[in-house]
């Protein structure tokens, strides 16, 4: 689709708003992991469906960009399709399902298996940006804690996991320290994907629409997952390989195939799986 919707500015948001969001993004890139407040706008979809990610994408997208949108690794879910169509209509940009072709990848809950390259931008949809929120409800206090790098109490949660279950049971939205400084929630990606954040050649932008925060991990930035010396960070592993493409290195979803107990494991990243089978 090349014809954009009449009556709307390019990529839906007005230019002043885009400028404001770009300023927030620049600040976020300059201070890796720091949450920059911004004036989040009403978007034509409910909070929690990716309003933060859409605003970030709308502010950075240009006519030459190629957009890919994934939801839980898949390109063909309702949310992913809707957002992709939204930008096809309002900005007239090309869209793709292929990771290698995309210049901007908006995502909910996954980082593609195909390694990202320099020049690509990941845009994450973030529900709750504040990693300290569970332990401190006051925003004034969490900001002070960030300012003073008081992150020790974060380990209380992991201590509890180990005391009760023998291991760290946090499996997604696993907190990280960015550039040896700021504590950051990587949005609800599985901890399997945490390692892809570290020293990634792509720029990674995080937008939280309801909470009105933008933060970023610039290319080639150190991202370290929290852990204990005697309980080091580890990622999920599976006994099975993908039933479709046979991959043993990708993140697998368990799919029930009937009501007789039949099940199969398949790649959560549909584009990666397809590229290996075709």
């Amino acid at each position: 689709m090349t014809q954009t919707l009449a009556g709307y500015n390019f990529a839906y948001l007005d230019e002043q708003t885009k400028r404001m969001i770009r300023r927030a993004i620049l600040k976020a890139v300059a201070i890796p992991g720091y949450q920059v407040p911004f004036g989040s706008r009403e978007m034509p979809l409910p909070y929690g469906w990716g309003t933060g990610g859409i605003q970030v994408t709308a502010s950075i997208i240009g006519r030459a960009d190629v957009l890919k949108v994934i939801d839980q690794g898949a390109d063909d879910t309702t949310n992913a399709i809707s957002i992709r169509r939204f930008f096809a209509r309002t900005a007239g940009v090309a869209t793709t399902e292929r990771t290698v072709e995309a210049t901007i990848i908006q995502t909910r809950h996954r980082i593609p298996e195909t390694p990202l390259r320099a020049g690509q931008i990941m845009v994450y949809q973030v529900p709750i940006p504040e990693p300290l929120r569970w332990l401190e409800p006051r925003e004034t206090e969490t900001r002070t804690m960030h300012a003073l790098s008081e992150y020790g109490a974060m380990h209380v949660r992991f201590y509890e996991d180990i005391a009760h279950h023998g291991r760290i049971t946090t499996t997604y939205d696993y907190p990280v320290i960015v550039n040896d400084r700021y504590l950051m929630r990587p949005s609800p990606i599985p901890k399997f994907d945490n390692q892809k954040l570290d020293m990634s050649p792509a720029l990674q932008l995080f937008g939280a629409g309801r909470e009105k925060r933008i933060y970023a991990v610039p290319p080639f930035t150190k991202v370290k997952s929290l852990d204990f010396h005697d309980h080091p960070f580890s990622v999920e592993s599976w006994d099975a390989a993908c039933s479709l493409c046979g991959s043993t290195t990708s993140y697998l979803d368990e799919v029930l195939t009937d009501d007789q107990g039949g099940r199969m494991f398949v790649c959560s990243d549909t584009d990666y799986c397809r590229s290996r089978t075709s």
Partner: protein, 265 residues
Amino acid sequence: MSALPLLDEEPPLLVVEGLTVAYGARVGCRDVGFELWPGEVLGIVGESGSGKTSLLNALSAKIEPAAGRIRYRLRDGTMADLFDLSEAARRQLLRTDWGVVHQNPRDGLRLTVSAGANVGERLMAIGARHYGEIRGSALDWLGKVEIDRDRIDDRPSSFSGGMQQRLQIARNLVTNPRLVFMDEPTGGLDVSVQARLLDLIRGLVADLGLSAIIVTHDLAVARLLAHRLMVMRGGEVVESGLTDQVLDDPQHPYTQLLVSSILQV
């Protein structure tokens, strides 16, 4: 309390001069000054509303005083003005060198995580990152405050009032602080539990050589724990001196009233 430490050998740990706490036009405490030496326990007594808690809050850097100076001798031996320190340094001091035991354990404990995590939190806050070692110290401290080791994974909300108070003490002492503030540590506990808690505090203070400032309205607690007493009324210190001296030979009419109000059983 016997075995008063030798006061001449070391300079004071805490020096307070002309401390005034105001809430707008209302005064919490006025022109309070004293010195606290290493290993010394200072009791602050007085009726409710006399400014004890205001004073304690200012001393423990929770509220900023309207006037006066609080100087504290850091571990490297230098005297630092508490409110000249950066906020980061002040909070670091509170987490490591100081402890605050609240009257209500709910203010000092994290009730939604286990007892072990409560004790371990201060260790993790100063950089401990080895689960086994953190758990080891937590077990050790639970033993010292007489909480069964197999309660380590239970939440403090399932503990009795006395146990919660002892857990709070363990949580504060795990980082080997040099100065502990206690606000009515035995308030709301029945007398037999109080007695055991007092025994415990007395033992820990003596063993660890802690300095402590204990706020209480209970003169019996003050007599058991404190080397020195300050009597407060209406925001001002009306009398101060050695505990036995103040309680056995009170000079100020208000102190006389306070001492004569003790129930004789």
